[in-house]
Symmetry: C2
Subunit: 324 residues, 2 copies
C-alpha cells in the first residue's frame, strides 16, 4: 500500500533528479479568485508535467533484472515522456504505447527521448491489448499510469513540497485543487497532506463530460465516463478512477470540482499573462476551478496544482486569442 | 557598499514575500547548448521579473518617515512593477515615471498595482528631470533601478538561491549568464558567487547595438550606447553601467556576451517549447547566449538567469511563428 513512508522514500530518490517546482502567486489572480491563490507549477517539471516524478519513482524501484529487460507504458503523452526520460537516464529500454490522436508535441518528444513509440486508435483498439502485444514477448515491466504504488508515491512528492513551500508564506490551511485523470497525483498528494498538513484537503478537478471522479465521489463507487475522447484536456481523459487510487480519494478528498473547456482555456491565458507559465488545457483545470468556481470553495486560501504544459502551439494560440 | 551581509539581510526580508524561483532544465536544451544548462527562471518572480526583489529590499530598508512620504521610480516597466507591488504591499505611496513606448502590458500592470504612472518621451525628455518634476515637491524618495545598494542587495538574493539549488544537482562550478542592463542584478549575483560559489563566475549578456557593459569591461571604464531605444529588448536598454555597479562587474565578471535580437526571439520560442515559461526578449538574452554562443563559454555547465516575462502577446507570437 502507498503510505507516507513510500512517498518520503520516493522524495529521497527524486532529490537531485526532479525539479523542485515553485509555488507561484500574482496579486491579479488573487483578486480574480477572491481569495489567496497559490499555484504549484508542475508544468515546469522535467518533461513538462508531474509525470516524471512517478516515472522516476517506479523505474528506480525495479529490480536490476527488470531494469535490464526494460519497461512499457501506455499514455496520451505526459506519462509517456516521464517514463521515457526516467528510463533513458537510468539506461533502461522503454516501449511507449500512445493514442494516435495525442498532441503531436507529446509523440515527438517521447520519440526524441529515445523510447520506442507504438501508436494505437483510441476509439477502436484496447490499449491493454496493444501494450501486451508490443511488450509481452520481451518480458517488459508495465509501468501503470496511476494504479501503481510507486507511481502514486512519486506523484505524492508534489504534496510534500507544496506543504513546505506554503508554510514559508504562513499558509497551513487550504483547499488543494488537483487536475485529476486516474487519480494518481491526487491520491499521492492527499496522503502527503494527511500526514503533514491535516488542515489542508485535496479536491479533484475535471473537465465537463469527463467527471468520472466527481461522480464516483458522490456515489461512493467507481463510475465511468461515457466518452473516451473529444476534449482538449487530453491529459486527463481517463475512463475511471483506479482501483488503488479511488479508495484513497474516497477516504481523504472533498467533493470534486468540474470546469468547462472554455474555463480551462481562459485559465491558460491568465497563466500566460500573470504567472508567465505555459499550460495545456488538462493541466489548467485546477486553476480554472480556483478562478471560476470560487463559490464551491470553502477556505480563504486555495492552492492550485497545475500539472502540465505540453500543448501544441495552435491550441495555445486559441486560448490567447479568445481570452487575452 | 553592497556586500554579502547586505545581500543576506535582504534575503531575510524577502523570505515569505518573494517567490523562490526554480532552477529548470531540459534534456533537449542540454543537447542544443552542447553542455549542461540550468535555467534560473526569474520571469516567475512576482510581477514577472526579478525587479520585485530589489524593490522590496529598497522599500523595506527605508526609514518610517520616508515610507510615509512615498517613493518614486523610473523604469521601462519591470522595475516599475517591482517597486509598485512592494510599495502597495507595504502601504507606501508610489509614483512611477515610464517611457511612453514601454510595452503596454507593463504600463497597465503598473497602474493596476496602484502606482501613479507618469509617461515621458524617451527620445526627447530626460528621465531624471521628469522624475524630479513629478516627485520633487512631495519629498518622495527615489528608488534607483540599479545604482542603489539595497536594490543590488535584493537582486543578489538570486545568486544565493541559485548556488543552493545548483548544489542539489551536484553543480558548484559554472558560468552564470545574466541579462544585463545597468548591472544591478549581475553585480548582486557576482557578489553572492564570490562568497558562496568561488568556482562560479558571472557573465553579462546584452543585445547587439546595446553592448555598453561588454565594451566597458574591455576598455576598463564606463562606455555608453549610441542609441537609447529601437530594440525589442526594452528591459535592458540602459545607456551605460552604473557608477556603483560597474566597479563590481569589473572586479568579478568574465567577458561580456552579446546576442542578436533574433537569437533572443529564438530562445523565447525554445523556452516556450521545452521549459514551459514565458520570456520577454530582454529576459531571454542570457538563454540565447547559452544556446547560440557556446563557443564563447569555457565551462561544462552554464546557468542562464532569465530575468523577465512581461511581453506583449504580439511579440510573443512573433517569436513562436518564426522559431517554433
Amino acid at each position: 500500500m502507498t503510505d507516507i513512508r513510500k512517498i518520503e522514500a520516493a522524495a529521497e530518490r527524486l532529490r537531485g533528479h526532479a525539479t523542485v517546482t515553485p509555488l507561484l502567486s500574482s496579486p491579479f489572480l488573487d483578486e480574480l479568485a477572491g481569495r489567496q491563490l497559490l499555484v504549484k507549477a508542475e508544468c515546469l517539471q522535467k518533461t513538462g508535467s508531474f509525470k516524471f516524478r512517478g516515472g522516476w519513482s517506479a523505474v528506480t524501484a525495479l529490480l536490476a533484472e527488470q531494469k535490464s529487460r526494460g519497461v512499457i507504458a501506455f499514455s496520451s503523452g505526459n506519462h509517456a515522456q516521464g517514463v521515457a526520460l526516467a528510463a533513458r537516464t537510468l539506461a533502461v529500454p522503454a516501449v511507449i504505447v500512445m493514442p494516435s490522436d495525442a498532441p503531436r508535441v507529446k509523440i515527438e518528444n517521447t520519440r526524441n527521448l529515445g523510447a520506442e513509440v507504438v501508436l494505437y486508435d483510441r476509439a477502436t483498439e484496447d490499449r491493454f491489448a496493444v501494450a501486451d502485444r508490443a511488450g509481452g514477448a520481451r518480458g517488459l515491466t508495465l509501468i501503470q499510469p496511476f494504479d501503481d504504488e510507486e507511481v502514486i508515491a512519486g506523484q505524492g512528492t508534489v504534496g510534500l513540497e507544496l506543504v513546505e513551500q506554503a508554510a514559508v508564506f504562513g499558509v497551513n490551511r487550504a483547499e488543494v485543487l488537483v487536475c485529476c485523470g486516474g487519480g494518481g497525483l491526487t491520491a499521492g498528494i492527499a496522503l502527503a497532506l494527511e500526514k503533514h498538513a491535516p488542515a489542508m484537503i485535496a479536491r479533484t478537478c475535471e473537465p465537463e463530460g469527463f467527471d468520472d471522479v466527481a461522480r464516483s465521489l458522490v456515489s461512493g463507487s467507481i463510475e465511468r465516463n461515457e466518452r473516451l475522447s473529444g476534449s482538449l484536456c487530453d491529459a486527463i481523459l481517463t475512463p475511471s478512477p483506479g482501483k488503488i487510487t479511488f479508495p484513497i480519494l474516497k477516504r481523504l478528498c472533498g467533493a470534486g470540482l468540474v470546469v468547462s473547456e472554455d474555463e480551462a482555456l481562459h485559465a491558460m491565458a491568465l497563466a500566460f499573462e500573470h504567472l508567465k507559465i505555459v499550460l495545456e488545457p488538462g493541466g489548467a483545470v485546477s486553476l480554472a476551478a480556483a478562478l471560476f468556481h470560487g463559490q464551491d470553495l470553502k477556505m480563504p486560501t486555495a492552492i492550485a496544482v497545475v500539472t502540465g504544459g505540453n500543448v501544441d502551439r495552435e491550441v495555445f494560440y486559441k486560448a490567447l486569442e479568445r481570452f487575452c
